[in-house]
C-alpha cells in the first residue's frame, strides 16, 4: 500500500475505531456496573425529612434521614425516587409488597422533587418507607454514585452498602436477589 492511499483509508480506520469504542462502551450493561462503594460504609449525609406523610404503618414520626439511620443493626434498602420519574411509579408496588409481606425496612431518598408532588405520589401509590429524606439538590445521589432514578441500594446492619440496583426493580429481582440477600445479612 502506498502512502498516497492513506488519506482515503483513514476515514474507514477512524470509523472502525469509533465503532469498536462504542461497541465496547455500550455493550456494558449499566445494570452490572459494580458500585464503587460496595462493602464500604454509605457516604456521610443528613437529609431533612419529607413532611406531611400518611404512612401505611400508621406511625407519624418524621425524622431526618442520616448516615446513622442506616446503621441500626438491621439490613435495609435505600431507594432513590422522584414523583416525576415514570419507572419509579412502576417499581413502587414492588417496594410496598416487600415492606408489607416481608417486613423489609426501606429508606426513601426523594431526589430533586417538589415535596407536594412527592406527597401526592406517595399518597396515590402507598407510603411504606421508614424515613424519607429530601435530596433537593441531588448532592447525596452524587455521593452514592446514583446512575439514574430509580436506584436501590441494599445496606447491611452496620450501614455498609452490599448491593446496588440501577433502574426499576422487577418482581424477579426482588424475589431472587434482594430478599435472599437481606435474609443472609440478618
Amino acid at each position: 500500500m502506498s502512502l498516497k492511499r492513506l488519506p482515503y483509508i483513514l476515514p474507514l480506520l477512524i470509523f472502525a475505531g469509533i465503532g469498536v469504542y462504542l461497541w465496547i462502551g455500550l455493550g456494558h450493561d449499566p445494570r452490572i456496573l459494580p458500585s464503587a462503594l460496595l462493602n464500604k460504609p454509605a457516604p456521610e449525609f443528613n437529609l431533612p425529612p419529607l413532611q406531611g406523610r400518611a404512612r401505611l404503618d400508621g406511625k407519624s414520626e418524621e425524622l431526618p434521614l442520616t448516615t446513622a439511620s442506616l446503621a441500626t443493626g438491621k439490613p435495609m434498602l435505600v431507594n432513590f425516587f422522584a414523583s416525576w420519574c415514570g419507572p419509579c411509579q412502576v417499581e413502587h408496588p414492588i417496594l410496598n409488597d416487600m415492606a408489607k409481606a416481608h417486613d423489609v425496612i426501606i429508606q426513601g431518598v426523594n431526589y430533586k422533587d417538589d415535596p407536594r408532588r412527592a406527597l401526592i405520589f406517595l399518597g396515590q401509590l402507598g407510603d411504606t418507607y421508614d424515613r424519607v429524606g429530601r435530596d433537593q439538590d441531588g448532592r447525596v445521589a452524587i455521593d452514592f454514585g446514583v446512575y439514574g432514578i430509580p436506584e436501590t441500594f441494599v445496606v447491611d446492619g452496620k450501614g455498609r452498602i452490599q448491593y446496588r440496583h440501577p433502574g426499576p426493580l422487577s418482581p424477579e429481582i426482588a424475589q431472587n436477589t434482594i430478599l435472599p440477600l437481606l435474609e443472609s445479612l440478618k
Binding site: 474507514l12 470509523f15 462504542l22 455500550l26 439514574g148
Partner: protein
C-alpha cells in the same frame, strides 16, 4: 382493518425496496437498459405503499384507536384533533415511518426529475436509495412496528408529553427529517459515483440540487426547533448545546461544507475525493441524529441497554451503511482524483478554507457531544461539557469564517488577486467600522460582542456589494434578469447569515433579565419598559387547566402602552405535568418576554421578564437562509432544463 392494511403495505414496500436495491444495480453493471428502468417504477411503488401505511397510522390516531399500541401509548381522546394527527410522528415508531415516507418521496423525485441523468447513474443512485430503504423498513418491521395491536385495548391513552403539544413541534420533526433524508440522496449519489468510478462536473450539478434542498430543510428544521425551545421552555434561551440539538446541527454544518465544495467540482472539476467523503459523512451524521433524537441511543444509556434488539440493529445499520461506504471510498476514491489543481488565492481556495473550518467545527461539536456520553457509558463518570466548551471552541472558528464569507464571492475562480478583492471591500469596511464604533458607544458588549456585530455588518454589506457589482452600470436591468438564480440564492443566504449572527450576538450580550416576586398591581422597570402585573386568573383549555396573567407593558419614558402580555402556566392532568407558556411581544427589533411561575395572591407570583434584543432576526434570518437554498436549487433545475432544450434543438437541427 385499516391498520392491518398499513402493515401489509409496509411489507410490500420492503419487497419493492429489495428489488430496487438489487436488480437496477445488476442491470447498470450489465448495461441492460430495460431492467434499469425498473428502479423508477419500484421507487414510485414504494412511495405509494409507504404513503398508504402512513395514512393508515394517521387514521388510527385520528380515530383514537387505542387497540393500536402506539396510539394508546402516545395519544389521548382529549387531545385537539391537530395534535392527534401530529402524535402520529411524535414517537419512535411513527417517526421512523415518517423517515421512510420522506425517503421514498425523495426516491420518487430522483426517479422523475432525474430524466436528464445518464441511465446507469440514475439506476445506481436509486439502487442505493433502495438499500437504505431496506435497512429502515426492516428495522421498523422487526423491532419497531407501529401497527402492532394490544390484546386488551385500554379505555384511554397515555397522552403525549404536553411540552410537545405545540405548533412548532408539529412541523419541526418533518422538516428536520426532510433534511436528514435529503442527505441520503447526496449519499446515494456519492456511493453511485464510487461504484461507477467517476465524478464529473455534471454529476456534481445533479447532486448539488439535492444537497441544497436537504440543507434548506435542515436549516428550517433546526431553527423551528430552536424557536420552540425559545418560547416553550421559558427561560429566554434559544440554544442549549444539548446532544439532541447538536445531533441535528452537525449534519447541517457538513451539508453547508458539502454544498460549497460540490460547487467546486461542478465549476472546476476539483476536490472530488473530499466531496464524496463529505457526502458520506453528512448522511452518517444524519443517521446518528435520527437515532439520537428518537431512540435515545446516546442520551439515555438505560434505554439502549433495556432494548438490546433495537440498539444492536441500529449499530448494525450504521456499521453497514457508513462502514460499507467508507470501505468503498478507501478502495475506489484514490483512482478517481485528478481534475484541476488550484491556487491558494482563488474562489476554490476560499471554499477550501470554508470547508476546513466547517469540518473542524463539526468535529468540535462531535467531540463535545459524544465524549461525555461515551465516558459515562464506559466508566459511569459524569462530566458536563455544556455551553462554555462550545463557546470557547465553536465561536472562534466561526469568526474567520464570517470574514472569509464576505471576500469569497469577490474572488475569481482559478487565480484571483487578493489586493483587487480587498479594494472592492471599502464599503464593507466603512460599514464594519461604523458598527464597531456604534457598539463600543452603546457599551456592555465585550470583545466577542463587538467582533460579532462588526463581522455581521461586514458580511452583509460585502455580500450585497458583490451582488450589485454583477449587474450595476449600463444595461443593469438586462444583466439583473440574466443573473443565474444561484447568485441570488447565495446572496440571500449570506445576508441571512449576517442577520442571524447579529441576532445571536445582540441577544447574548444585551439581554435584559428580571426575576421578581410580583403581586397584582406591582410593576418592574426593565430595559426602558415598565411591566405591570394586572391580574392573575384561572382558565381552562381543551385538555389542560391554566393560570393566566395579564401584564401591561408601557414605555417608561412616556407611559404609552406597548402591549398586554398573557403568560400562562398550564397543568395537563393526563400527563400530570406543568408547562409554561411564555408571552412574547415582538417589535421586530426586540422581544418582550414574560413567564409566569408558581405563586399565590398573598406572597405574589414568581415572574421572569426578559428583554431580548434582535432575537426575531434569528428566525427571519433562518427562514431567508432556507429560501436562499431553495432559490439556488431552482436555479440549478432551470439551467439544466435550458441546456437540455438547447441540446434537443441542436439534435433536431
Amino acid at each position: 382493518m385499516t391498520v392491518e392494511t398499513g402493515h401489509f403495505a409496509l411489507i410490500v414496500a420492503l419487497i419493492l425496496a429489495l428489488l430496487q436495491s438489487t436488480v437496477p444495480m445488476w442491470a447498470a453493471a450489465r448495461g441492460n437498459r430495460e431492467l434499469m428502468t425498473l428502479a423508477r417504477h419500484t421507487a414510485w411503488g414504494q412511495l405509494i405503499c409507504v404513503t398508504l401505511a402512513f395514512c393508515a397510522l394517521m387514521y388510527a390516531f385520528s380515530r383514537s384507536d387505542f387497540s393500536v399500541a402506539v396510539v394508546a401509548m402516545n395519544s389521548h381522546s382529549d387531545k385537539p384533533f391537530m395534535y392527534k394527527l401530529a402524535a402520529s410522528w411524535g414517537h419512535h415508531e411513527g417517526s421512523l415511518l415518517l423517515w421512510i415516507l420522506i425517503l421514498s418521496l425523495f426516491g420518487a423525485c430522483v426517479a422523475t426529475f432525474g430524466r436528464g441523468m445518464p441511465d446507469p447513474l440514475r439506476a445506481r443512485v436509486l439502487a442505493v436509495q433502495g438499500m437504505i430503504g431496506v435497512g429502515f423498513l426492516l428495522f421498523t418491521l422487526l423491532t419497531s412496528n407501529p401497527f402492532s395491536r394490544l390484546l386488551e385495548a385500554p379505555v384511554d391513552g397515555n397522552g403525549l408529553n404536553p411540552l410537545l403539544q405545540d405548533p412548532g413541534l408539529v412541523f419541526h420533526p418533518p422538516l428536520l427529517y426532510f433534511g436528514y433524508v435529503g442527505m441520503s440522496t447526496a449519499f446515494s449519489f456519492a456511493v453511485a459515483a464510487l461504484i461507477e468510478g467517476k465524478v464529473t462536473p455534471d454529476w456534481a450539478r445533479w447532486a448539488r440540487t439535492w444537497v441544497l434542498i436537504a440543507w434548506a430543510g435542515l436549516t428550517m428544521g433546526i431553527s423551528l426547533g430552536s424557536w420552540w425551545a425559545y418560547y416553550e421552555l421559558g427561560w429566554g434561551g434559544f440554544w442549549f448545546w444539548d446532544p439532541v440539538e447538536n445531533a441535528s446541527f452537525m449534519p447541517w454544518l457538513l451539508a453547508t461544507a458539502l454544498l460549497h465544495c460540490v460547487s467546486v467540482v461542478a465549476k472546476r472539476d476539483a476536490f472530488k475525493g473530499w466531496t464524496l467523503l463529505l457526502s458520506i459523512l453528512g448522511f452518517s451524521l444524519s443517521l446518528l441524529g435520527t437515532f439520537i433524537v428518537r431512540s435515545g441511543l446516546l442520551t439515555s444509556v438505560h434505554a439502549f441497554a433495556t432494548d438490546p434488539a433495537r440498539g444492536v440493529f441500529i449499530l448494525g445499520l450504521l456499521g453497514v451503511a457508513v462502514g460499507g461506504a467508507l470501505l468503498l471510498f478507501a478502495i475506489r476514491a484514490p483512482t478517481m482524483e485528478g481534475g484541476n489543481g488550484f491556487e491558494p488565492v482563488s474562489r476554490e481556495g476560499a471554499l477550501l478554507l470554508n470547508n476546513l473550518l466547517f469540518a473542524t467545527a463539526t468535529a468540535t461539536v462531535l467531540i463535545g457531544t459524544l465524549y461525555p456520553l461515551v465516558l459515562e457509558a464506559v466508566t459511569g463518570e459524569k462530566v458536563s461539557v455544556g455551553p462554555p466548551f462550545f463557546n470557547a471552541t465553536f465561536v472562534p472558528l466561526m469568526m474567520p469564517m464570517l470574514a472569509i464569507m464576505a471576500v469569497a464571492p469577490l474572488l475569481a475562480w482559478r487565480k484571483a488577486s487578493a489586493l483587487a478583492a480587498m479594494k472592492q471591500l471599502w464599503l464593507a469596511g466603512i460599514a464594519a467600522a461604523g458598527v464597531l464604533l456604534l457598539v463600543v458607544w452603546i457599551g456592555g458588549a465585550g470583545v466577542a460582542g463587538i467582533i460579532g456585530m462588526t463581522l455581521a455588518a461586514w458580511l452583509a454589506v460585502a455580500s450585497i456589494y458583490a451582488w450589485v457589482r454583477r449587474w450595476w452600470g449600463k444595461g443593469a436591468l438586462g444583466r439583473l434578469v440574466g443573473l443565474p438564480l444561484e447568485v441570488h440564492g447565495m446572496t440571500i443566504a449570506h445576508c441571512a447569515a449576517a442577520v442571524i449572527v447579529a441576532g445571536i450576538t445582540a441577544t447574548s450580550v444585551w439581554q435584559g433579565e428580571a426575576v421578581k416576586l410580583m403581586k397584582v398591581g406591582d410593576s418592574v422597570d426593565l430595559a426602558g419598559y415598565t411591566w405591570r402585573l394586572d391580574r392573575v386568573y384561572d382558565t381552562i383549555g381543551p385538555n389542560y387547566q391554566a393560570m393566566r396573567g395579564d401584564m401591561t407593558v408601557t414605555r417608561t419614558s412616556d407611559g404609552s402602552t406597548v402591549s398586554t402580555l398573557h403568560p400562562e402556566r398550564r397543568f395537563y392532568p393526563v400527563a400530570q405535568q406543568n408547562t409554561t407558556e411564555a408571552a412574547i411581544h415582538t417589535t421586530g427589533l426586540a422581544d418582550l418576554y414574560a413567564v409566569l411561575g408558581e405563586g399565590n395572591p398573598q406572597s405574589g407570583w414568581a415572574v421572569r421578564l426578559y428583554y431580548n434584543p434582535l432575537v426575531p432576526w434569528m428566525w427571519f434570518g433562518a427562514a431567508f437562509m432556507a429560501l436562499g437554498g431553495v432559490i439556488s436549487a431552482a436555479g440549478k433545475i432551470r439551467t439544466r432544463r435550458s441546456r437540455a432544450a438547447t441540446a434537443a434543438a441542436e439534435a433536431v437541427a
